[in-house]
Amino acid sequence: MATPASKIKFREPQIEMAHGAGGKASRRLVEGLFAPLLFGTSQGPLGDAAHIQINGTRMAMTTDSFVVNPLRFPGGSIGELAINGTVNDLAVSGARAEAIVVSYVLEAGLPTDVLEAEVRAMADAADRAGVTIAGGDTKVVEHGKADGMYITTTGIGRLLSGAEISPQSVRPGDQVLLSGPIGDHGITILLARGELDLEADLRSDTRPVFPLIQALVREAGAGVRWMRDPTRGGVATSLNELARDCGLGIVLFEEKVPVHDSVRGACEILGLDPLHIANEGQFLAVISCELAETALEVLHAIPGGEEAVIIGQVREQPASMVSVTTLYGGNRLVDMLVGDPLPRIC
């Protein structure tokens, strides 16, 4: 199937780091090059997982590569991320992860005990998430060609009954729910790299969010319109994608967005916005107004869901944008992340 060249909108001469940062540049690459060539379209929302039907059973399928540096950090490691990330991508698509296959790209010279620790971390994480690791593949590249190891996980899951999740079902008046404090993972990684002379008592929030989502869909399924795990690019990027896909405005209330003090402090010092910082153990959901309270009650009753809050609502305006109402009643727009978050000087 030949794709006319005119459909390929991606005209940038080379790949930059920003194309992998999860923000606008990533979106341009996916919509401008991958989608027209691979799916024959650049239209339609791009979710966390693809929905497929096998013999009438509705399944979700997703894949994700993990290239984190350093490999281990407070609160987690690349192996744990590789399982939780894929389990979570399926979970926010409304699916229970059933099986995962793994690909390793290992760098020659990687100490065996480092590899073993990560494989153990994966086995433990899979066990916790109740998912089977069904197979895998290993490649080794020359020393210096990879940061120790890269892991790709591909997962398949069964859609929960009662989960009808799509940006098109979002309506003005719906509430925006966040499962807990944001920014822990991104700031932990930034500090763990040791390039900035900052220390904080912080841990990555990596965890499977499926138990929370399962309960949410069971008790308030009819009201769950959309979900997303705000990883790279943070809450701001996920909500901007939603706003664009549904054509409505998302209004956040700044004082409602939970952020740990150490994350706030680091963001203040580095000039970053917590709304742009990556998370690995939280999810966003849009819930119909009538069921929002129920959704909160359900989550609050489950371990790990105690800090869930409503952080905003869907309105007609500002159409296709995300706006934050500040503590003082002023407001500002919040865009997708552009490139990687870079610390500023003064």
């Binding site: 080379q14 790949i15 930059e16 780091m17 920003a18 606008k24 540049a25 390039e195 900035l196 002379d197 900052l198 003090d261 706030r264 402090g265 203040e268 580095l270 000039g271 916005d273 305006q317 500002p318 944008m321 706006s323 934050v324 109402t325 500040t326 503590l327 003082y328 009643g329 002023g330 407001n331 500002r332 727009l333 919040v334 865009d335 552009v338 490139g339 870079l342 610390p343 500023r344 000087i345 003064c346």
Partner: protein, 375 residues
């Protein structure tokens, strides 16, 4: 969070907003310049403009060090990065600023060694831990960051660290304010004075602005309450027909400045006879160069740089925006050819640049579009 939340308390902010509305004479239009990019950023980030009456207008000043750096200097710095065994270290702000052949981030993607540092001392650390490589710190900033560059150079000299140098682009704030006041198309009523710069230079250097030019200056902190309180202080002076230098940011800024920091700057730097500013052109005695006694650590003296002048794209109106003559959205390229992702001018690059702040937080707001049309 201590020393932050106190200055963001909604009830105090609301009170300051009321006081501003009370003090502002309804028959008068106030044009107040916030000099510092940090102020510009905070004003947009916290939505402070929404709290001001329509006749109190904030004009964004030249105090964003990334924004005022001409492209020729960036090209000069980047020309060295291709040298073998070379590490180019810079603040995060610099990484997306476009040179003629790309930004530092793009150079990095092509395989050159660029590192983001948070302090020049971190660049020195890189030099110590990479003895086989040369580490060049691309220094930018006003008097806020110049002392830390000076101290780093003093340490490099004391340690005899030969694989380290500084490409110095430090500038000074006073000549820039003078250039703006000398600009014939500019009419201002007062200044929200720079906070961090003043921790170093103190408040005295602004005396001529109130004395000779008759414009009040209030040196201000960066939290929402600081900025609103500074506007209150300016409006009080204007109401009384007075013009003084006042210090709102007393918890950080000593009136006399920081003598130790000034001494370090004096030890390492001297004034350049002139320096090119993006948008403002050449301004005499407005920038710092490394003294001959530190020549070994001065990248410009140690290496050969092309020393090219690159004119800004003709259509870009960075100069007018930088001087406060045009609002960001009035520039022909704003939001079309020039966006934070693909910036043409530097005001769009740094989050403190007024164009980036305006683009990110403001310009697409339906209300703003309506009021911009009314200008």
């Amino acid at each position: 969070m201590k020393f932050v939340d106190e200055f963001r308390a909604p009830e105090l902010i609301a009170k300051a907003g009321e006081e501003i509305r009370r003090l502002a004479d309804a028959n008068r239009h106030y044009r107040i310049m916030e000099v510092c990019g940090g102020h510009t950023h905070a004003i947009y980030r916290f939505g402070l403009k929404d709290l001001l009456p329509a006749n109190v207008e904030l004009i964004h000043g030249p105090g964003c060090p990334v924004c005022v750096l001409p492209m020729g200097r960036i090209d000069d710095g980047l020309s060295l990065a291709a040298e073998p065994n070379f590490i180019f270290a810079a603040f995060g702000d610099m990484m997306r600023v476009p040179g003629t052949h790309g930004s530092p981030l793009e150079y990095k993607a092509r395989g050159m060694d660029f590192r983001i540092v948070y302090s020049p001392a971190d660049a020195l650390k890189l030099a110590r831990s990479n003895p086989q490589k040369h580490v060049m710190f691309f220094a930018i900033g006003f008097e806020t960051t110049a002392p830390s560059t000076a101290l780093t150079l003093m340490r490099a000299k004391a340690e005899g660290l030969c694989n380290f140098s500084v490409f110095c682009n430090h500038v000074t704030i006073i000549p820039a304010i003078r250039a703006i006041l000398d600009s014939p198309d500019m009419r201002l009523d007062g200044f929200v004075g720079p906070g961090h710069v003043s921790t170093v230079i103190g408040c005295r250097p602004y005396a001529w602005i109130s004395g000779d030019e008759g414009k009040p200056v209030v040196v201000s902190g960066f939290e929402p309450l600081d900025i609103l309180q500074s506007i209150v202080m300016l409006l009080r002076q204007l109401r009384r027909g007075e013009a003084h230098v006042e210090n709102q940011y007393k918890r950080v800024v000593p009136w006399e400045g920081n003598r130790a920091a000034l001494r370090a700057m004096g030890e390492v730097f001297e004034l350049r006879p002139y320096f090119e500013w993006r948008g403002l052109g050449f301004i005499s005695q407005s920038a710092l160069k490394i003294r001959a006694s530190y020549a070994q650590w001065d990248a410009e003296q140690r290496f050969t740089v092309p020393g090219v002048r690159v004119t800004d794209p003709k259509a870009a109106q960075c100069g007018e925006v930088l001087k406060g003559v045009l609002k960001p959205a009035q520039c022909k390229l704003f939001g079309r050819e020039c966006t934070p992702e693909q910036p043409v001018g530097a005001l769009m690059v740094s989050s403190e640049g007024s164009c980036a702040a305006y683009y990110n937080y403001e310009h697409r707001k339906p209300v703003t579009i309506a009021s911009a049309a009314a200008i």
